[in-house]
Amino acid sequence: MGTSDSRTYGNWRKPTSPGIFGIGLAGTLMLFIGSLLVIGALFLSIVLALGMAVAVGLVIAPMLIRDEHGRNGVQWLTATGSWAMGVMRGRHVYRSGPFGRIPTLSNVLPGLGTPLEITETEDAHGQPFAIVTAPGPWHHTVVLDCHADGASLVDTDQVDTWVAYWGDWLTQLGHEPGLVAASVTIEAAPDTGARLTREVYGNMRQEAPPLAREVLAEIVQSYPLGSATLTSRVALTYSGAARNTGARRDVEAVAKMLAARLPGLATDLQMTGAGPAIPMTARELGLMLRVAYDPAAAEFIDGAPDEVSWSEVGPVGTLETADAYRHDTAWSITWAMSEAPRGEVFSNVLNRLVMPHPDILRKRVTLMYRPHDVGSSARLVERDRKDALFKAKQAKLAQARDSLAVMAADRAAQEEATGAGLVRFSLYVTATVADRDDLSLAASAVDNLAAASRLRLRRVRYGQSSAFLAALPLGLVMPLHLKVPQTVRDAM
């Protein structure tokens, strides 16, 4: 891979709203109205007009300031403000169980995870699978457990085919009725050896020769040391909310729809290099969450065959600080992608980011996709093209960057017209370590990995607990869980 004739990918862009000075549609409108007000005030009093101009300037100014990650001042102010409010109310601390603030016998998920409910049902082949329901936006998520073969020993042709099918699969998501988001989570974790122990001791015979028993016992002891396991999970989130036709769908209706559609989606997923995809059961999901919050429990949980109650999967206690998250036996940091890989990239660009790293105990990389439906994709690429043209014409001297943007927008419009879908994507990385002192080591490791993958990550500030949840394969679609509506944020 990586030879000069390999297929490359790129041409993604951050959706922007048209507006002058890069302050977006809302900012431009505000500036416009503000100017009118100032002019109006001029007729009354010059002092009033000056005061008003300063006020408008104060409102607009934060929008003009952008940091290296492309966030503007308004975003920073709201985030910091709401965090300060949260800390004042003690929202950053979570205690559950008999010794919690409100003593109960359960350990539910903290924060956004608390209201999540789980239902187990069966697919068309009679295999049980679980649906996680987020009652707020009325989202239903099913999680598929995949076993990827990996690309390390595969010919470029095969990888290109897989990647092309992955593109097809993403396109198909845009046609999937009611689907709001899909995510892929690759988790690297140390091998506890429990699976091996279970395999060996579960099959060993009582009457086995002593030598065989001795050798197998030694293997179980020595082999798992230092090795890592990688799991890939694909979460599909469907909306049960009322659409143009029909009423709001409850879990049963969604389960019925999924039971019919899931086997097909899973089969198609196999063509993308994800390997066989099997829907996860409530028990598997529960164990996964339990271990995510309490990695030290992995060792004994890995072998536990019994049921896991949904109300027991959460942590006992968590403490959120501005840029780290303490949960039960571990510390975590979550990053969000602030810039997608620049320029043209090869399909192996994310490999190093998802591979296990010795400095990080457990690492999750989550890619969240939100497809645009077919109708709005066509409108959006067309609008992008117009915006790019508008921007290019605005500048007196045609800037190279603008003409490139026009070309890129043209290309996207062409691809859309020939059948590709349009998809929004974001990326989260969570690194978990056992000790607070290891956090800085893990942070620099992630920085290096991000650089190797040519993307820029921003450590989530004032929102670690939610970001932690977002990076779990639970199908929490963050943009739809926020207080500020999507349209307003888009206009910023």
Partner: protein, 456 residues
């Protein structure tokens, strides 16, 4: 909390951020054999578990290829050892080195020594099938008897093939077939080859009519002359000696690990080696099918076997027609509970056969195997191998790299290890290969001299 910034692109571009580049690892099912080279995870792999429990392969067999000295027998020994722990009996049908004798001894198994003047294996010995047939009824009984009969016929024909260099003719096989039936009716106890020769010489009517002598005894003698000569050759005066014409010295048991030790046969005695291997396979598979028939009838517990056919190339090299015999034997693994490991050095071993159809059949051994395990192989092997196994360029490169010799050790200290020592790639169908390195445990190091070079 604010949402992570989102980016937007068409799906033909966004798919370039492909998340499945790193493999998820392999199912942990089977005997742990080593650790993968790309991730250091424990790899569990053996043909029986992968067929039976994991359902990863379509039949419980494996083909192991690799240059000598890189540890082919070591990985198979590990599988045998682990499977013994899982209640599967390892059976080594013909150990030439000996690679497996120590292991089978250590597993408290039965080691049957064969060789000139050391031990005998009567090819007409039905083993336990006679006694077993007495415990069965109806179809099961008929099937077992017919099976034993066919196996003996095959064994005699194979020996004649080794002796002559060409297989017996159709007519001769028919004569042998009928003569064996006559022998069963006339003879009490276990017959030997001398008794079979006697039957043919006595020319009973059924045999004569099978030989199509048209009532002319002279014609009969002319037809059976070659056959007689071959059988006399097998009685101790031919180049195969008397190993197969005397009563079996130690009958094989079907409830514990077994190894036929033929290491005392000299390497220059290629024909005897091949004949011994064939006789062991025939006899051994006979014992296995007896055990299966008894288990099917509910008379004994269901036993599983892991059959190891090492040094396949020696047998194939000896002469025409033996490929068919091997083919017939290897197809037996479809029976429930018999896993097989076939071991040879290179694909060239299989493709160096003189006749085209034999080459195709030999290739079929590899094609039919549930999985192929490759050690280091020379680059010249790759075209032939990829024809059958379908390897990617990266995989081929890796396997060729493993076959490079160790560097010169100028300091004269410990011997430098070849780079491919203990390294193998497991290929199942078109799926990407899993490269692994076998790591031996202390207990294993203790039982085998050839492993002294290994370090944990």
């Amino acid at each position: 909390m604010e949402a992570a910034p989102e980016w937007r692109g068409t799906t033909v571009q966004v798919c370039g951020l492909w998340p499945f580049g790193a493999g998820s690892g392999t199912p942990v099912v089977g005997v742990p054999v080593g650790r993968t080279l790309n991730g250091n995870a424990t790899l569990c792999c053996d043909p029986i578990s992968w067929f039976q429990r994991a359902q990863l392969i379509l039949n419980p067999s494996e083909f192991v290829l690799g240059r000598p000295g890189l540890g082919k027998s070591t990985i198979v020994r590990r599988q045998a050892l682990g499977l013994a722990g899982y209640g599967v009996q390892p059976l080594v049908f013909g150990d030439l080195k000996p690679d497996y004798v120590d292991l089978i001894h250590a597993l408290d198994g039965q080691v049957i020594a064969l060789g000139r003047g050391r031990g005998f294996l009567n090819v007409l010995d039905p083993g336990e099938s006679k006694a077993a047939a007495g415990r069965l009824t109806g179809d099961a009984r008929r099937a077992l008897v017919a099976d034993a009969h066919g196996r003996r016929l095959n064994a005699v024909a194979s020996l004649i093939t080794v002796l002559r260099g060409v297989p017996p003719t159709d007519r001769e096989e028919s004569i042998l077939h009928v003569a064996l039936h006559v022998l069963d009716q006339r003879h009490d106890g276990v017959p030997v080859l001398g008794d079979l020769l006697k039957v043919i010489q006595e020319a009973p009517d059924v045999v004569r009519s099978t030989a199509l002598d048209r009532g002319d005894i002279e014609r009969y003698h002319a037809i059976t002359e070659e056959l007689e000569a071959s059988l006399i050759g097998l009685l101790g005066n031919g180049r195969l000696g008397d190993m197969f014409s005397r009563p079996t010295t130690e009958p094989m048991r079907h409830d514990r690990p077994v190894c036929f030790d033929v290491s005392s046969i000299d390497d220059s005695d290629a024909y005897l080696q091949a004949a011994a291997l064939l006789a062991c396979w025939s006899y051994g598979f006979g014992a296995v099918s007896v055990a299966q028939a008894l288990a099917d009838a509910g008379l004994e517990p269901q036993r599983h076997y892991f059959v190891i056919l090492d040094e396949l190339w020696r047998v194939l090299r000896v002469g025409r027609g033996l490929v068919d015999r091997v083919d017939a034997l290897t197809r037996l693994n479809r029976q429930r509970g018999v896993g097989m490991a076939m071991i040879t050095h290179t694909m060239s071993d299989l493709l160096a056969l003189p006749s085209e159809e034999d080459r195709m059949k030999a290739k079929g051994f590899v094609e039919r195997s549930g999985m192929v395990i490759c050690g280091g192989l020379p680059a010249a092997e790759m075209p032939q191998l990829t024809e059958v196994v379908g390897m990617t360029e990266a995989e081929q490169r890796m396997i060729v790299d493993w076959s490079t010799p160790p560097s010169w050790d100028l300091a004269g200290r410990a011997r430098a290890q070849p780079p491919g020592l203990g390294k193998f790639m497991v290929k199942v169908g078109g799926r990407p290969g899993i490269p692994l390195v076998v790591r031996l445990t202390k207990a294993e190091l203790a039982i085998n001299d050839t492993n002294r070079r290994w370090t944990t």
